[in-house]
């Protein structure tokens, strides 16, 4: 009886299947030439309690380990699992295991412990992006097309001002662009996020869409100078093109399967780490200048604050990774997000 058949079988696809099958059918000594020394890994809860011990091949990947854990506990599908190495002194959190790496890459041996955390119910990134962008695309035009219902106590003017028409056009164009990018351009670093984020993000986008739209499409809206508004929206469109180009550059940074950080280059990236955010902020700033409405400015400022938080983290991450030592390039001196301020 070939004791390690299972281990060998799980090792890698058809080649081993054939090899193992051959060995079983032969009368020869039943040892496989492949490395089948399995090891036992303790999967431990945050409380310290051992949840289970899994028998794995050191050369198998973290993804395969997560599949095995999923068999042990049906509730925790792989996207919900976070596995970390034990915390080393000086660390805030143990190293998080990456799905694509092998267990041996982390120096795991027989008897090693891994800490498990439930990330909660997960939802796909593109699913969240779609719904959070779909809301504004629908909600904003409601106030433009249905004023009699949404401002029932007010008299509706016969015609919208030019600015209001251009604004609804720009807004819908922007969010259509975002949805198209979600499915054709963006490459997400993670496949999923906690499902709570869906509600949080949708509340933000849908809420602000209603807030901005209610006032810009208000029957008593006071339009600013038409020519200035048109110029601003025109420039905003240019900013959107810049943002699109930035997204294309980012999408092409990694070859399929690559997981490492790269230094973005080209376009505004030569000067600003998060050039995509720069263009996005300019877009909303110009939109606000075009419509002259406090809610629009509030929306821009809130978005800019969040993007700044992300940009600082990204900038520091890149500077830390590309420190110029051991043959690594040194990250060039660049603005973080919005010259000449940051």
């Amino acid at each position: 009886v070939y004791k390690d058949y299972d281990a060998c079988f799980s090792f890698s696809q058809t080649l081993h299947k054939l090899l193992a099958a051959q060995l079983i059918s032969s009368d020869q000594d039943n040892t496989c030439t492949c490395s089948v020394a399995t090891m036992k890994l303790d999967i431990v809860a945050r409380s310290g309690r051992t949840l289970t011990t899994l028998d794995v091949n050191p050369d198998s990947t973290v993804a395969e380990l997560k599949k095995k854990f999923h068999i042990f506990s049906r509730k925790y599908y792989p996207a919900r699992q976070r596995l970390t190495l034990p915390v080393k002194p000086g660390e805030k959190r143990g190293t998080v295991l990456d799905d694509s790496k092998r267990l041996s890459d982390y120096g795991l041996t027989d008897g090693s412990k891994l800490e498990f955390k439930d990330l909660g119910p997960q939802i796909g990134y593109s699913t969240v992006f779609f719904w959070e962008y779909f809301g504004p695309l629908v909600v904003y035009p409601l106030f433009f097309f249905l004023p009699k219902y949404l401002y029932p106590h007010l008299k509706t003017p016969a015609q919208h001002h030019l600015v209001q028409k251009l604004a609804v056009g720009y807004w819908c164009l922007h969010y259509s662009k975002r949805i198209i990018e979600t499915f054709t351009v963006h490459r997400f670093g993670h496949a999923t996020m906690p499902i709570f984020n869906l509600f949080k993000n949708c509340a933000y986008y849908w809420g602000y869409a209603a807030f901005v739209s209610y006032f810009v499409n208000h029957p008593l809206y006071t339009p600013p100078n038409e020519k200035i508004s048109m110029a601003c929206l025109g420039l905003a469109l240019v900013a959107q093109l810049g943002n699109l180009k930035s997204h294309l550059i980012l999408a092409n940074l990694r070859a399929p399967g690559e997981k490492d950080y790269k230094i973005p280059r080209g376009g505004l990236f030569n000067f600003v780490t998060c050039a995509n955010y720069t263009f996005e902020i300019w877009g909303w700033l110009l939109f606000s200048l075009a419509v002259q409405s406090v809610p629009a400015y509030a929306f821009m400022i809130t978005g800019a604050l969040q993007m700044t938080q992300w940009a600082i983290a990204k900038h520091n991450r890149l500077r830390k990774t590309f420190d110029g030592k051991d043959g690594r390039p040194k990250y060039p001196r660049r603005w973080i997000i919005f010259p000449p301020f940051l």
């Binding site: 006032f215 810009v216 008593l220 809206y221 006071t222 409405s293 809610p295």
Partner: protein, 250 residues
């Protein structure tokens, strides 16, 4: 010194500020048989200083000096500032003189020789707020100084909320009840369209929305505090002395 000198000073300063407010409340209402209007005359400034100083606590959380979550701290401070500046101080004729009666004029609280009508008013608000804050800031001051807290103070911190939280919330809502008719009639703190900002704001509606969001959170918070109390006081009684508090200095 055991802890952060600045935090010690901050917490002690607020013990003094709120202690003074408490003293004025007892002195005016009980010792001098005064009215809530008399109380407002003397307590207005110390109250405004002590309560507004709490914005520093949001700063402390934000910079990590203190381990409280910024959002929660922010909401609690914002709620107090809204009641103080956006309700009581906005319509003082109504809030510092009025009262919401509980049970009619025949129901009185006998305190020594004094007959206090059972009602919610500025004095009950001040009493609830100042007792709570004196206990809270003493707790943090002592904790910062000694790293541990004597059981009596721990007990006060985790027990006085039981009557004071409902009384405080009820008093705050009473203040709003007294102020809102005037706020609505005079269209206070509101901006109408059309205007250059292309923005409108109705403060009366905002107040109703604030109250609506207040209400569901209250029972939740109260029961959370009760469960925290059980955990902390049992832990302290069981273990050697007090000090094992999971919440952090504010």
């Amino acid at each position: 010194m055991a802890g952060n000198l600045y935090l010690m000073a901050y917490n002690l300063a607020l013990v003094l500020g709120w202690g003074y407010c408490l003293y004025l409340t007892i002195d005016t209402m009980i010792l001098k048989h005064g009215s809530t209007a008399d109380l407002w005359k003397v307590v207005e400034l110390p109250l405004k200083v002590s309560q507004t100083a709490a914005v520093l606590e949001v700063l402390h959380s934000a910079i990590g000096l203190v381990r409280s979550p910024v959002g929660i701290t922010g909401m609690q401070v914002a709620s107090r500032l809204w009641v103080l500046w956006g309700i009581v101080n906005l319509v003082p004729e109504a809030t510092t003189r009025g009262a919401v009666s509980l049970g009619g004029p025949s129901l009185q609280l006998q305190l020594g020789g004094l007959s206090l009508p059972l009602q919610l008013n500025l004095a009950t608000l001040l009493a609830a707020w100042s007792i709570t804050e004196v206990v809270r800031y003493s707790f943090f001051a002592v904790k910062e100084m000694l790293r541990t807290v004597p059981y009596p103070l721990l007990w006060l911190r985790y027990s006085t909320f039981i009557p004071l939280y409902p009384i405080g919330v009820a008093s705050e809502l009473s203040m709003a009840y007294l102020a809102l008719p005037t706020i609505r009639k005079q269209h206070m703190w509101s901006l109408d369209m059309p205007n250059a900002y292309n923005f409108g704001f109705d403060y009366t509606i905002a107040c109703y929305i604030i109250i609506a969001t207040y209400l569901p959170g209250l029972p939740q918070l109260y029961f959370y505090m009760l469960s925290q109390r059980k955990k902390v006081l049992q832990g302290a009684a069981g273990g050697a002395g007090a000090g094992a508090e999971s919440k952090k200095s504010r």
